[in-house]
Amino acid sequence: MCSAGRPCDYTGLTYELLRGPSGIQWPVNIDNPQGTERLYTDAFPWAAPDMCESYGKDTVTGAPAEPAEYKASNPEGKAVLKGAPFVPPHEVPSKDFPYVLTTGRTLYQFHTRTKTGRAPQLDRAAPQVWVEMSAADAEREGTQEGDLLEVSSPRASVRARLRVSGIRDGVVFLPFHYGYWDHPDTGLRAANELTITDWDPLSKQPIFKTAAASIRLLDRDGQQSAAPTTTASAPAGTSAAVPATVGGADALVEEVIA
């Protein structure tokens, strides 16, 4: 079997065990026929140079470590801690794009909302894109809660209503859950069209936290921002009188454990 001798060795697994009363914890093999409740009670052997599956990667370049380098630096197979030096962001604020743009999540939605956007209570809690700015930045820009803003980067723009939140001065935030599958006719709301095409070379995670953006006031018509009043998008201070995000009766459940 392909798992023989590897960390997740399940060569001793049987249909009888699987149909038994509980889950089976690996390794389950000839030495541990009932599985293994607690791993590595004595030592963790899998980082030894002739045992490990990978020699690790460079934290800045993502290049795989060379075998000889790993063997020389970790002959005993101990855990390896790597420092990552500071690397300046690949896009920084400028005269034309004076804000740091970060995009991210809200508690009530997951990624592009293909599931959470179909749950009425979650959809109502965060139905539409918004933009967050600090009270000091909003005052300097002459903008206020609920204003329709255009947020632009060198690549694209989003139109979103302002939530003055507790965010750091100089930073604007856009949630990236809002695209076009449920709003095919509304453009200009996908936040990650503004971010740079860049990723961490080691993990390949996209860079959504360092871009530069500008803002422009488009309209002030008395409408509210769709930002939840809970979590990080809560309105700053006591000045903003915006309707609270609430669950309502249809969000309540009662659990009875027999």
């Binding site: 460079d58 800045v60 370049t61 993502g62 290049a63 300046p88």
Partner: protein, 169 residues
Amino acid sequence: MSSTAHPGIALFLREVLAGEVDLERELHKVAERHRTDHEVRHVAVDLARWSLENRRALVALADRYGDDLRDDTDPQGPARPMSDLRETTAEPLGRWPEPALLLLFDLRHLYLLASGNSSYWTALAQAVQAARDPELLAVVTACHGRTMRQAVWCNATIKALSPQLLTSL
């Protein structure tokens, strides 16, 4: 320590400074030429900064080996003949103008520049130990570590690109 005490060390310090200027310039050129390969583009610019940091760290200490060891070289200035990518890549490329193949040759060239710098650092590390200059040794050792990571990245990227590229022409 007087500036004439170790003319050999001064010579190699000058050479590695020039080598770092070359590498920084070529990394920026590769980033610009292959800007649609986003990972290469951004990593190359990050690595170019290491060559700049190496020069700054070295120049802060190296004037004890010679008054002419100043960091007055402009990476944007004219290239030294041996470092110019166009000369080294034009001939083998011949009638293969594929940008991906050009990237492979560019990375190989960067690897050679980084490896060349690495050999300077090796020599300098030994020499400054013999000359009993622990302060400069610490700088040389730190610089050498960054140079090695530059070379390893070039080699690793060549390794990742080659199979598909060289079997699909």
